[in-house]
């Protein structure tokens, strides 16, 4: 789990790794990933809608990694590192893909989708961006990493 292309620790000072985990690239395992991440952050007291947003972002990024990066090869794992500073939570989700990260770049437009002018799919990146405070997508010849950032200030009271 070392040598990640992206490293927010350099940006934001003292970080501690809360959990490193991996899931095989089998359809449906994004739920396993999101529940494990939820367990990893339980001491941060992220609750309610904020926890649900984080879980959705983790699930969507993991699903993208399994589908596009690892081509749903069960022997290929998605690696997840959960770390926190005093003010931020970082979840890095890494697959074994190469080349540019494969996210559906077109902003989804529901009206266009209903008229058949856009595919009904393509919601993953859009959802992630709306669920977390920041995200960064990086890659090299061996990996893609999506880093999700959640600001912890004001998020410990639960609710919205």
């Amino acid at each position: 789990m070392d040598q990640r292309p992206s490293d927010s620790r350099e940006r934001n000072g003292a970080w501690r790794v809360l959990r490193e985990l991996s899931v095989p690239s089998e359809a449906g395992n994004e739920r396993l990933a999101m529940e494990k991440v939820a367990d990893a952050v339980r001491d941060l007291d992220i609750r309610g809608e904020n926890l649900e947003r984080l879980k959705t972002a983790v699930a969507e990024a993991t699903m993208n990694a399994m589908e596009h990066g690892n081509k749903y090869r069960a022997e290929s794992f998605v690696l997840i590192e959960v770390s926190a500073s005093d003010t931020q939570l970082s979840v890095k989700i890494t697959d074994e893909g190469s080349g540019p990260p494969d996210f559906h770049a077109e902003t989804p437009d529901l009206e266009a989708k209903l008229k058949g002018m856009q595919t009904p799919r393509g919601w993953g990146l859009f959802l992630i961006k709306n669920m977390v405070d920041d995200m960064e997508v990086t890659g090299d010849e061996h990996h893609h990493t999506v880093e999700l950032i959640l600001n912890l200030d004001g998020r410990t009271e639960g609710g919205t």
């Binding site: 359809a27 994004e30 959705t56 209903l114």
Partner: protein
Amino acid sequence: MAVRHLEAEVRQERGVVVLDLRGEINGFAQEALDAAYAEAESNDPEVILLNFEGVDYINSTGIALIVGLLAKARLSKRRLVAYGLSDHYVEIFEITRLSDFMGVFPDEESAMSATSVS
């Protein structure tokens, strides 16, 4: 973690067709969802209610399936109405603008009342 495949049942309630959905709405759900919707359409209703009370997970692929149902409904000039979504999925319906194109209600009673068929 085992995937909870979607189960969908169709019932008639006060002149409205209700799709009771239970489980996960993800890529595995397409067959069950499409079959239930086709059964619902066979009654040629003006309104179809989607009951999400038993749904505990919807991913982006599931959102795409719901978009597909909405497109079908609009094509045949039916109203698609949702109820029983958790607060989180209400937010996602708002973010995706699904709630701009289909009514979203907390429960069956309010959905029935709003569709003016009770």
